[in-house]
Symmetry: C2
Subunit: 273 residues, 2 copies
């Protein structure tokens, strides 16, 4: 397990793997690793010769400066967790290594972007696309592994890979959940004990809507009554093109999406119907 902070050193190591014809799997993270991340890394290790994990809190994908500042960071703890799994490389660049002072490139992904987290977090997915391109070019993976909790993000990254012709296999793994059903997220760390107890209602509600989609509007009131502060969205959409589903009995592949605030923290989840 090699911790690399610097691009030049990373390049040397990656190019050496290339000269040995190694297959590289990559898991990008923003740190504050939880069991969801670890399951992705385990998958990477099992399905490739070399596993690379990046830890980088990417400012360009934060539309809210406070959210960026408050995003949990604990590198020692992350490295401690990784030392049990031993990925081959942990890439931990600092900000100035990734964004030089006259950085000048902007990416826009004009599909899947104008709904769900795309409408509530303006510019978020463009920032994601930018850092993903950079990390793909740095790590040159054969496959990259993402969690399904960020479902919209996985669609955007697949679109990016297709449209820009990256020769990278995008693999989406199921959302990893607490025993209560709460989707694992670094943001959960910021919930109080009480908040965490309440938060399990998110997944429970998704399951109830899955059973009876006609209850969707009523569920919004119930969540607010429970103590959630605000619902960003709670919607059923086509899982291929993210269009809103008007007729719940249609033959489309459907998925329920939620973003909701609790204790000032924005939590997301989704569930296939």
């Amino acid at each position: 397990m090699k911790i690399i902070k610097n691009i030049e050193e990373l390049r040397e190591v990656i190019n050496n793997y290339y000269s040995l014809n190694k297959i590289i799997a990559f898991v990008p993270t923003m740190g504050s690793l939880h069991d969801g991340h670890l399951s992705l890394i385990r998958y990477a290790k099992e399905t490739a010769d070399i596993s690379v994990v990046s830890i980088f809190v990417n400012k360009t994908q934060f539309n809210d400066a406070n959210d960026f500042t408050n995003y949990p960071r604990d590198l020692d703890n992350d490295i401690d967790k990784l030392s049990k799994l031993k990925p081959d490389i942990i890439f931990v660049p600092n900000d100035s290594e990734i964004y030089n002072k006259d950085f000048a490139i902007k990416i826009s992904v004009n599909k899947f972007h104008d709904c769900l987290c795309g409408s509530s977090r303006i510019g978020h997915f463009d920032g994601v696309a930018l850092i993903i391109i950079k990390l793909f070019n740095l790590i040159k993976p054969h496959k990259a592994i993402f969690g399904e909790k960020d479902y919209q993000q996985t669609l955007i990254i697949k679109k990016l890979v297709k449209d820009l012709n990256f020769d990278i296999n995008i693999i989406v793994q199921p959302t990893y959940r607490e025993p209560s059903g709460l989707a694992m997220s670094s943001r959960n760390l910021r919930l109080s004990a009480n908040g965490k107890k309440l938060a399990f209602a998110i997944y429970k509600t998704l399951n109830e809507i899955k059973t009876d989609p006609s209850t969707l509007e009523q569920k919004k009131f119930e969540l607010l009554d429970m103590g959630f502060e605000k619902i960003d969205y709670l919607e059923i959409r086509d899982e291929d093109d993210l269009k809103l589903i008007n007729n719940i009995n249609s033959a489309q592949n459907k998925r329920i999406f939620i973003a909701i605030y609790l204790e000032g923290i924005r939590l997301i989840d989704n569930l296939k119907i």
Copy 2:
């Protein structure tokens, strides 16, 4: 010499070169090959194991639909010329192979873009950046070779490579010229015999300005008197940041840039002072 039209076949061949640890050099072109292109391809062959030439008239970099339509295309002639040099691969994709019908990515390069060809051809360099990213991801070259005639383009591509962390060496080769001094360009094919005779005045003028920069404004009148229709720009700029030079005696690295119309055709050139 293998002519490849399809992305899947290209990937297979490129990945095979990778497994053999071959160094790949890439020369992107829009076809209508002239001796300038051929000199870049010769350089690619001499300095790498594998040379790849792409021929693709990229619509996203044309701000003027007529210019795109009228851009010279002669694939048989191109292949004939290449068959003397025998690059390993000629990649000739068609439009739909490169831009799928719901293509959704836009790139903006916000440096070096708001002067010279960037101001007269709005969106041109964003289109160049887009196709270059795609071709880099398809061909995965270790080095890519460009001509200095498109000096501003070479700065933008270097910036793109730096900011997006492509592991590709960008090599800029001197402008290849006709015996008269006229910079080789596919657009020269559209000049009449008379036009071609007149066009040599472009390079002659740049040299005269190099000798005595104070004549620059007067040279504009002289060019128009000779029969050129319009001068897009004739300027001396810093060759590192493209800022206009106010004091010609400054210590900056200076370069003269010209874009000028003759017989309805836009011709460019530049010369280091």
